[in-house]
Amino acid sequence: MRAHRSRSPLSAPPTLPWNHPRQRLSQKKYWLVAATINSLPDQLWVEIMSRLPVKSLLRCKCVQKPWCRLIDTLIHDRTFVTKHLNSSIDRPSLYIRSYDVSRRVRNSFVTICNENGDNAHLDTVIEDFDLSPFRQQYHMSFLGSHCNGIMCISVLRQNIVLLCNPALREFKLITGSCLGPRRRIDQT
């Protein structure tokens, strides 16, 4: 005959270092309470948010204060950034540099996404991003190289390198780079 000895409960899931005062359900009889998205524990939020494109993440910041705080913490968290990057590998973007009739440069990203999970319907998203503020100030070379979603553009005849994160539209100018003024960054 089978011995019906009860076992100790499973250990609680690990808690993450950030805390945000979202509505929490008490452990006791939580299933009697209607669950909302805000009652999900942190580790599940991380899972959900890592599946969203950056545009959606930024929009989520505007939904409610706790969402804003959480996303601000996440996008500066190395583990989350790596996780997000890994899940974005499924939706690679193609960088296209084109010129219009007045020879103005246009930088765009074309992303093909398969959001419904079937291959019958593919969406194409074209997003432009503007490098003109830097172009007016610096004479920039062609796109040099990229790594993990960060593009590296060198400024000609000056010892300056522009690092650009097109997903967040964030830029960082590095002056006095160790590469020296005459070096052009080549594709690696």
Partner: protein, 163 residues
Amino acid sequence: MSSSSTTTTTTRLLMLKASDGVTFEVEEAVATKLGAINNMVEEEGSEDLICLPNVNGKFLGMVLEWCKKHANNNTNSDKGNDEVNKWWDKEFVMDLDQNTLYHLLMAADYLSGTELVDLLTEKVASMIRGKKVEEIRETFKIKSDFLPGQEEEIRKKNSWAFE
């Protein structure tokens, strides 16, 4: 509510007990798709009743139904399994109301059902993706708690995301 699966002499059965006392008799191969149960079986064997105090019977039943379907699909035929699973997963998440979705997600997370967590988090993500702020609030029935001007400030910082 108690569920019993068709027994054969070769498959071992596990007894699982949910928080509300509902018990399930499940084939070991099905239940061990859940990491937490797999660990318990490895550590302590499969003879005893396994108590799961953090999962209610309704949601444990749903999690086990999903595991059973996937275990069956994987043994039935070699070809087209992925397709069958994908189709079945789509059906599984299609009509879930939000309350069930979140409870199920928490149950799957607690039981370390990684694949099911992936499926359900993707479902939640798909409810956010491509939507405007107002549409997200409407979907999740959330009210804004920003002071006047605060939201506009965030929008201004990343105006391209709101075009």
